[in-house]
Symmetry: C2
Subunit: 352 residues, 2 copies
Amino acid sequence: MSSQDLVRRNIREMQGYVSGEQPDTAKFIKLNTNENPFPPSAKAVDAIRSAALGNLNVYPDALSSAFRIAASEILQVEPTNILCGNGSDDILTMLTRTFVDAGDWIRIPYPSYVLYRTLAAIQGAQTEEIHFNSDWSLPAEFARTDKNPSLVFLPNPNSPSGTAVPLEEISKLAESLPCPLVVDEAYADFAETNSLELVRQHENLIVTRSLSKSYGLAGLRFGFAIASESIIAEMQKVKDSYNCDSLSIAGATAAIQDTDWLNENRQKIIKLRSELDRDLVELGFHTVPSQANFIWCQHPNHPALSLYEQLKRNHILVRYMDYPNWGDGLRISVGTANQNSALKTILGSIID
Amino acid sequence: MSSQDLVRRNIREMQGYVSGEQPDTAKFIKLNTNENPFPPSAKAVDAIRSAALGNLNVYPDALSSAFRIAASEILQVEPTNILCGNGSDDILTMLTRTFVDAGDWIRIPYPSYVLYRTLAAIQGAQTEEIHFNSDWSLPAEFARTDKNPSLVFLPNPNSPSGTAVPLEEISKLAESLPCPLVVDEAYADFAETNSLELVRQHENLIVTRSLSKSYGLAGLRFGFAIASESIIAEMQKVKDSYNCDSLSIAGATAAIQDTDWLNENRQKIIKLRSELDRDLVELGFHTVPSQANFIWCQHPNHPALSLYEQLKRNHILVRYMDYPNWGDGLRISVGTANQNSALKTILGSIID
């Protein structure tokens, strides 16, 4: 008997999720996984270093209460509306385990975050991918109720496009869907609006957030969901007992309280994003106006894969994305001014 | 439509797992969740504090490679035989998601770790509980193949008993079972033997370990599995992309390399365990000889629940366990000499 025969069929047949390359960061300019190019709040780092001297021999608070209380004050919700996760990927996993049975359907827009398909496959569920319109708006089909999905994911802003669906549309979508609508707001801090206020209006609307991007804490693994108290209570049942560790709870709590840092960083990124967009356009790229910390682009004369490879040879990593039945392109994270400038120089020499 | 109607039936109907109380640690002597009463290796703390000054804005290594390499050298296996998790609970979750379909059976001994039932319920699986013999040995029934389980959990040493099944029996069990046998070794560092060498002999045997108990790092959330390369490869598919954070990887790597700390701590705990056992016997308790960092006991004249409550009123927390169709008792974690002495004094005054 081979060990393969012991594995569930859906797991045996699936490919694991492949995340962006993580090479030796000292040797590469990393613009491929939408990390924040700046270090996190010094208050978060101090909180972590203090927590390391605390009672690490004791289990962490199972509900990350310190973070829930701090975040509830800043986001103007109740602590019971918040569920913390080991990164927002942990939250997304809990969502499929709470709402989706084997054989059920999960609806997602396409192209969007590739992980949703993986999560569906692990759960033994099917994925209904509905293509965005060519201007990255959602087709009416996305709200259809005949197919009866168990869960709908809407990344907003979306990756790879960086575009956002207007709040009124999200509100109508929540109204018409027979299931939970997850608005994945991993990039919302870089956008003009967010769906937080919609949680109060729609029992079936769940917002997910991450500290990986806008708080510069991808290495910490901390994310959270905001939803009605009853949704949060059900999701709590499927979470690992102690899913967030003492260090990340301390760091995340200090980070979310440091609103000055967030505002300043957000403004820096938005400014750098517009400079990056301008640079890319000057080089002849077609870019999509972004509300996130990355830009999706294609060049009319240079295949995206070749550009990716040549950049990599020059120690700049961007994300090459090839979506079957759709097309390919480059997703470039917003870097520091120096990183953006190096990118511009190298791209210029490649394209020339 | 209520949000309850959106939830999977198995989740809606289940109770969430309830872990041991975690009150304000400054006010209680905590002997209820089998934490190590001593702080972790100073090298682990230093490694965490250094990592906090590193690139927290960057995603962690998805496979916790530094830990896998360090652990492989110490445990004499290959890095590809190791899978890291956000606590061993994360590993146990991955195990059910890799091997167990909805409707399948999971076999566990009884009484043992309550979480296994919760994990089965989340997966929509059924639990076959096979009672230990009265001397905490496994009945022959535990190896039966007619019911065809998809996964078998054997905590060894077991909780709440602290007893261990001999290696020869585990080897025979792995041989006869048609499915993976998970030997949950959360407490193995306090035992006389462990099943590590059996992994090489049995393709279907998986050992899980935790840094929460013997390394004094419950607050860090770090555990791992040791199994054949092909089992590990399948389990990797169901793990969250970045399931361990940069701080815990750094801390866990330094901790497992500090073998002097482990050996010294283990000897301290084993000595304190025998003193605790002697104290409890002197007070009239019936104790079970333990190979873990806790002792399971009952008093012939005092109901366990009442003892638990009186201890709690005196700011000492132990774990009261009441197993349906079996019985109740107290599981008392091994504390420091001072903690054990306080326990003895208070228990003496209650029992007198």
